[in-house]
Each structure stands twice: as structure tokens, then as C-alpha cells.
Symmetry: C2
């Protein structure tokens, strides 16, 4: 039980160093216009006293918090069924840490939570927000908007209606999907089917669009609805097999779906990849590497997405003080950044 020593204040440091509070403040922060000798004395005093600035007092006057909120809707199964979100968090955390910002995590579920988040954001407790909004009708974006906090979105918001002040980072779902389907086509497959994700999510919509892009080039495509779960993949695969017993390629909207499809294919006696080639999406390691055979899939650099989101936000914050509101927008801040994907070939193609 160490004594609850009252933490030393600026005042204490000043006294010990024999200078004024103002001087200590100058040294502790940027330290400009303080003679080396004095600065050194101050630094020593800080060291000896173990002084740490009181962030609350500082925020009170500067109106900055050096803190950023990360807002995510918790019921999103994908957020908790795979390491996706954790990786994104890691990227965000790294970038924020590098700029001495704190990460305040806000997980929501349900209406009342939205109100809470809105209040928190509007309360000016953080300098900006990173918001994950995957659904087309997500109330979060609007809420954040009206809270007037600089924001960067993770994933293309559903209502990206050409407004120029929405900043987001997404991976190239459409391009990745095209690559996947072209890969199948390049293997000589001609009857290629797609199992979609839930179409109220932009990522699923974009992957479907990518599939269509190529299928339109190369003939009609077979499509069955899925929901990003293995169960959904199984159902869709059965349906597809019934409709077109001789299909020879499947592009699944994500790896979980592909895993389900794979099971049905085996159950129905199809050999993979000989009879049917399969491509997934995400390269969600614990799944993609564990399927039998290991899954060919489209990888996105999730951690980099997180890092980029944070970087964009912080950049907007630096300048943004003027505009202050709505978004980390600016002449040279791109409104949407789309990260490339890469095809990872394993054994299902």
C-alpha cells in the first residue's frame, strides 16, 4: 500500500526548479524560447518529482483531448465471429499511439446505445471518431454527423450518395471479386456461381457487383443468396447444385460461406478443385487455412485499413480546427480511400 501521494503539479515542479509555472509549461510542451540551462533544470525537476501533466486540466483550457473514439455496432456478427475487427483495432491503435492519442472504444447494441454514443460524441470528449458502419440503413452515420465530430468511416457507408464530405476507407471489394472470378475463368471454368453476402451490407453488394462485372463479360452468372455464415453457405450451395448440377466454379462472398459450400460439395461427391473450384473472400486465417482443402481466397489488408483510418482522421484534425465539424475533410484529404486486395491461391482452385 504505497501512500496515495498527491501527484505533483506544475506548481511543484516550478518551485523545485526555481522558475514560474509558465516556464515549466513551456518546457513540458514544445519548449520554445527557454534557455537551455533553465530547460534542463526544469527537466530534472520533472524527472525527480515524477511529474505527469494532468490531462483533465490541460483539456479544460486547450479543448483538445488527444483521444479518438472508435465506434462499432456490436451485434455485427462478423465483428465478433472473426478476428477482423481486432486486426482493424490493432492498426488503429498503432497509428494513434504513434501520435500520442488515446483510443476510446464505444461498442453499441440497440437503440438506447445509439443515443448514448450520440451524447458522448456530442459531449466533446474526443477529438474525432472512427466509425464502422456496415449496414445500408445504419443509424450511426447520421448520428455522428449531427454530433458534429470529425469522422472517418470504416467501410463504404451505404449512403455514399456522392457527397464529398464523407471520408471513408474501404478495401476494394468489387475489384477483389473481379479478380476472384477472373481467376476461376482463367482456369477454364465456365459455369461459375456466386454465393452472396447479406445485401444490406456494402461489402456484400460490392462483391456481387464485381462478380457481375466479369460474368457480364463472360456470360450469365448463377447467383444464390448467403449471409456470410457457414450455414448460409451450405444452403446456397445446395440450391446452386440443384439448379445447375454441372457448375464448375464457385465464388463465395466470404471465407465462412466458402467453408459451408465446401462441406456441401464434399457431401454431394464433388471433388475440389477437380470438379468444382472455389474461391472465398477475406483470407480469414483460422478459417481459410483450416478448410479441407485449404481455401483460395481474396486477402485484404485489414490492419492497414485501420491504420489508414486513424491517419486520415488525425490529419484532418490537425488542420480541421478551423472547419471544426462534420468531417476530416480538406482540399487534399481524399473523401474515400480504397485499399487493394490480393488473391491468395491455395488448394481449392
Amino acid at each position: 500500500m504505497t501512500e496515495t501521494a498527491p501527484r505533483p503539479t506544475l506548481e511543484a515542479v516550478a518551485e523545485r526548479a526555481g522558475v514560474s509555472r509558465a516556464t515549466v509549461s513551456r518546457v513540458v510542451n514544445g519548449a520554445h524560447g527557454v534557455r537551455d540551462a533553465l530547460a534542463e533544470r526544469v527537466r530534472r525537476a520533472v524527472e525527480e518529482l515524477g511529474y505527469v501533466p494532468n490531462q483533465a486540466a490541460r483539456s479544460l483550457v486547450t479543448r483538445r483531448h488527444d483521444a479518438v473514439a472508435v465506434v462499432a455496432a456490436e451485434p455485427e456478427t462478423r465483428i465478433f465471429a472473426d478476428p477482423y475487427f481486432a486486426q482493424q483495432l490493432r492498426g488503429i491503435s498503432k497509428e494513434l499511439t504513434a501520435h500520442d492519442n488515446q483510443l476510446v472504444l464505444l461498442l453499441t447494441e440497440g437503440r438506447e446505445d445509439h443515443a448514448r454514443v450520440g451524447r458522448y460524441l456530442a459531449g466533446g470528449h474526443v477529438d474525432g471518431a472512427l466509425v464502422f458502419s456496415l449496414h445500408l440503413d445504419d443509424p450511426l452515420p447520421g448520428l455522428v454527423r449531427s454530433a458534429g465530430v470529425p469522422t472517418v468511416f470504416g467501410g463504404r457507408p451505404g449512403w455514399d450518395d456522392g457527397r464529398d464530405d464523407v471520408v471513408y476507407v474501404d478495401s476494394d471489394n468489387r475489384g477483389g471479386a473481379r479478380d476472384a472470378v477472373r481467376h476461376l475463368a482463367g482456369l477454364g471454368r465456365t459455369r461459375i456461381a456466386h454465393i452472396t453476402g447479406p445485401l444490406d451490407q456494402t461489402s456484400a453488394v460490392d462483391r456481387l457487383a464485381g462478380f457481375r462485372d466479369v460474368r457480364t463479360e463472360a456470360g450469365s452468372g448463377l447467383i444464390a443468396p448467403g449471409d456470410f455464415t457457414p450455414g448460409g453457405g451450405e444452403r446456397a450451395m445446395r440450391e446452386l447444385l440443384d439448379r445447375c448440377p454441372d457448375l464448375d466454379g464457385v465464388f463465395a462472398a466470404n471465407d465462412l460461406t466458402a467453408a459451408g459450400a465446401l462441406r456441401v460439395l464434399r457431401e454431394r461427391g464433388r471433388r475440389v478443385p477437380e470438379d468444382v473450384a472455389v474461391v472465398g473472400f477475406d483470407d480469414m486465417l483460422p478459417v481459410a487455412e483450416q478448410t479441407d482443402p485449404p481455401l483460395t481466397t481474396v486477402r485484404q489488408d485489414i490492419e492497414e485499413m485501420g491504420r489508414l483510418m486513424a491517419r486520415l482522421l488525425l490529419r484532418g484534425l490537425d488542420r480541421g480546427a478551423g472547419a471544426g465539424n462534420a468531417a476530416a475533410t480538406g482540399p487534399d484529404t481524399p473523401s474515400g480511400v480504397v485499399l487493394p486486395t490480393t488473391l491468395v491461391r491455395r488448394a481449392t482452385t
Copy 2:
């Protein structure tokens, strides 16, 4: 671009309601000793002005932050290779939210990060900390200790040397392991092997201990070292099969390991569960349900662990103001809480 309206202050609300700052403050907080009529007037003014208290100003005087840090070592592969951590976070978040506390996430990797975390914690920016420390030689616990912040640990700390002021929440790794092995024994299996986790983690140590508890009762046990990865599981399984070709039961330290073992068993022509029965640990859904056949495993309620950690910490905080330091300890605060596990039987046994 909404105008950056200066947020209304207590003063503004007071003026509008025709009362003093003190009265508004009373209403905004607990509201005791204010007549209903006045309180109502104040509430209306708050509403109309959209007043939100300035947390910085409040913290400055109360020395409370209503914020808790969650500290986790990021290189922990398990944290980012599975949804484990995310689920724990969810539990924590729910509990904190219910008590109007914020969650500040601190991810560390490497030495310099430790220093940073130490400084942050010592800086008194948060009221307490939830620390995940899985390794025996983790520097984090000591660091947190010396920062003098009330703390609850996730997972039994390696140095739980009987000190009574370390509060932690863990799941019953040892008991769960015993259940798993007894289950195998109950199925008539007599040559049961164990693939361990990395033995610098208490969870792996405890699971091994559980295995030994039962094997000591029922005869000697075959043990091979693993590392919580599928690759490690494969290696260990091969070794075990070489040493004891007629083994008929395997208890793997976690599901990933079991998945690897399963693959080797199939490759070596063993039927599961007919020839060899397999039990995992964790019930990590995307893995346990996707193995072939689906894995019998030991489930822990991870979200509940998180929630409990938060609850314990908050409870300690309420009272703890006096002691202030070291830990959320108190006469009726248990030092270690161990959550029960349950065996989930699927198709590998």
C-alpha cells in the same frame, strides 16, 4: 458545416433557468435537495440548450474520470487469431456502459509500449485498469502495480504467489481439463494423450495440471508439447502416434491444436471418434464447428469473464477510494474468481 457553436456551460443553463450554477450542478448530478419545481426548470433549460457536462472540468475537481483502461499485449497471437479478446471486450464494454464508464483501450507491443502504458496509468487518466496478462514473465503486472492503479487481471497471473491483493478472473482451466479427460475415460478410452499449450501461459499450465489430475487417478498419461496453433497440433499428434500407435483418446489444449491433430489423425488413417476420440478446449466457434467432424470441446463463458472483470473493478472503485491503490481489493472482494466451464459434446467423441 454547422457553426462550431460554443457548447453551453453550466453557467448558461443556470442563467436560463434563473438559478445558480450550484443548483444546476445538483440537478445534473444526483439531484438531492432541490425542489421539484426548480429541478424541473433546470431540466428544461438543459434540454433546450442541449447541455452536456464538460468531463474535463468535472474530472479536474472530482479526480474521477469514469474511465477504465483495458490493457492487452498485442503480440499475443491468440488475441488476434481468434475472437476471444473481442468477446471479452464485449463483456467489459457492456458492464462499463451500464455504469457510465468509458473504455480506453491500450494495446502494447514491445518494451517502449510498456513504458508508455506505465506512464499513462500512473498519469491518473483512468480510475482503474483491466489487464490481460497471459505469460508467466509478463512485465505488465509489475508495471501496473507500481503505477498504483486499481486493477483486475484477466487470467490467473503467473506470479499468483499467494498474495492476497491480486484480483483476477479466470476460467476453470484445470477443472475443464479434468472434465475433458474424464469424459474420454468415461467413453472407455484408456490410452489418452494430451497435447499441451505453450507452458509459459498459465492457462496451458492449468490445463496440463487438470490432465495430470485425472491421469494420475487412472494411469500414466502421454504428453506432447504444443503451442496453441494447428501446426503445433499436427507436430505433436505425429509424435504421439509414433510413440503410441494405439492411443485411443486425445485431449488438446485448445481447439486450434485439436484441428491440427484431427488432420493428422485422418492422414494416418485413424477414424474419429471410432479409433481415436478427440476433445479440444475453448469452443472457439469458427473452428470447433468447422472441423471435420465437429469438435467436442470445453466451453468457457468468455463474455462473462469480461463482464465480471469490469464488475469487480467498478465495485472496488466505489469503496476503494480510501485505499486508493494497488488493487480493487477489500474484505468481500474475492481475490480470484474462477468461472466454470462446460463440456460441449459434438462428433469427435
